[in-house]
Amino acid sequence: MSSRINVIKVFPGRPFQFRIRLGSTLFKAIVKIKGIEYRKGEGFVITSYDAIPKVNALIERFNVMLIPYIPCVICGKDVHCETCEYSINCRKDLEACICKTCLNQSDAWRKYSEIQKTNLDIK
């Protein structure tokens, strides 16, 4: 039997499906967790990233894992929270962060400033 884990990237505030049959007991247990809610016809929505480890503990036996998706301010790619050195100390309910690759570049700040100028429409 394969033990491959199915990773579900979760966007804050956006509905997602577990793609497994949860069953009523597990469904009720997940809905009771603070920071996750179920919207009829849409699916589950993560409102607080604190809920993710709790949900992961419940769905572990199905080889499914929730991982938050946070875009990098500079390159726009996923920052990969799961590998971040600050993962334990971070609140994770961020709109954006900075990925490791961009952070380690020598001109990271200059790039950040330029992106800011474009985003905020400053001439």
Partner: protein, 382 residues
């Protein structure tokens, strides 16, 4: 403006709102920025004003912000140009009223301030921005109704690391990445705290000392650390981070000096200096002149640093002070009864007894004098 890190969405909302406000497409009177300290609310407003050509007229917790004071300061803004701004060429810029630390408005001293701000924002047509750490929905109902609320969140650890790396590069500091990471972990999303920590580390204070001093310590721990501090800077940062203990600190210093057993000349000198510090602290509190704190932050640490050469801290409250703070009702009643009687025995007022006699005669009081006092009580009251 592009150099204020973090809260990208909030900043975008801010600019979009201002654009709509200029076109008179919004109902709100101004913007209310809400978020914990040290995440760039004030810096953002100043950066925004610089970029878009606004002249910031700011009031913060260190100013009087009563109805009258605000009307005097801000009421004329829409109608005239001050001489200062005229000569500095600022009259060409549009004004921006910025009321920082709105949640710090004193209900008594700053009475009517919120109503005045709303009135000025309504009548002047000037861009008005307020900032607060926490907004109580009940107390600030009117503000929430009239102002567009934008939430600023603490920065992510990597955003703070980027900021610190930039400072390290610009200031040409020799600080390793591991130390930067330690600072990032300790500052908990507060960029101001991170910069302060970086500054302390750059001048040689160990990161452990910096980390511990930044917290609001319990009074006894604060006193212990203060007297154990090895450097002057450590004493400074301890005092700066524990302002709530200053009242008690001055009291304890007075106790320490007056009961130190030093030469009377030294005691007189130390008490004189302490009285100056006490007067300054009272003035800061009474007149709410927080700008004077910078003098206190120089005077008090140097005082303690010198005092440490002559006096050791016993790591406990002087016993008589302990009895002043007793919380048990029964003991408190007994204490009050005795405090009402003993001053009569000494022919002085209760206040004078507590401040001038008790500290020096406490040990006598619980010894022989206590027996004499009880005999006197028997004679007087039976």
């Amino acid at each position: 403006m592009d150099e204020v890190i973090g809260n990208e969405d909030a900043k975008k909302k801010f600019i979009e709102w201002v654009k709509r406000w200029k076109k008179k497409e919004v109902e709100e009177l101004g913007i209310l920025l809400v978020g914990p300290p040290g995440i760039g609310k004030t810096s953002w407003v100043h950066a925004f004003a610089n970029t878009f050509g606004y002249n910031v007229i700011e009031t913060n917790a260190s100013d009087y912000r009563s109805q009258k004071a605000l009307e005097e300061r801000l009421g004329h803004i829409s109608r005239s140009v001050s001489l200062d701004s005229f000569f500095m060429g600022m009259h060409k810029k549009e004004p921006l009223i910025f009321l920082d630390e709105v949640d710090g408005l004193d209900p008594k001293a700053d009475k009517g301030a919120i109503e005045t701000v709303i009135k000025i924002a309504k009548s002047s047509g000037v861009l008005t921005v307020l900032a607060a750490n926490i907004v109580d929905p009940k107390r600030y109902k009117e503000l929430l109704k009239n102002f567009y609320v934008i939430e600023f969140k603490p920065l992510s650890p990597r955003q703070i690391e980027l900021l610190l790396r930039k400072i390290v590069y610009l200031e040409n500091l020799d600080i390793k990445d591991e130390k930067l990471r330690e600072i990032v972990l300790k500052c908990k999303g507060d960029a101001r705290a991170a910069i302060n920590m970086l500054q302390s580390v750059a001048i040689g204070i160990s990161i452990e000392a910096v980390g511990t001093t930044l917290e609001n310590l319990p009074f006894e721990v604060f006193m212990k650390r203060l007297f154990e501090a090895k450097t002057y800077d450590e004493v400074v940062s301890l005092i700066q981070s524990n302002i709530t203990h200053l009242e008690d600190l001055i009291q304890i210093l007075w106790d320490l000096v007056s009961r130190s057993g030093m030469d009377i000349k030294y005691i007189a000198d130390f008490l004189k200096e302490l009285s100056d510090i006490d007067i300054l602290w009272s003035r800061i509190n009474r007149e709410r002149k927080w700008g004077l704190l910078r003098y206190l932050f120089n005077l008090l640490p140097s005082y303690i640093y010198r005092l440490k050469r002559y006096v050791t801290y016993e790591e406990k409250f002087p016993e008589y002070r302990f009895y002043l703070f007793v919380k048990n009702r029964k003991v408190r009643e007994q204490r009050d009864e005795i405090y009402n009687l003993i001053p009569r025995y000494f022919h002085v007022s209760k206040r004078k007894f507590i401040t001038e006699i008790l500290p020096y005669s406490y040990k006598l009081l619980i010894g022989d004098m206590w027996r004499d006092f009880r005999e006197w009580c028997d004679r007087m009251f039976g």
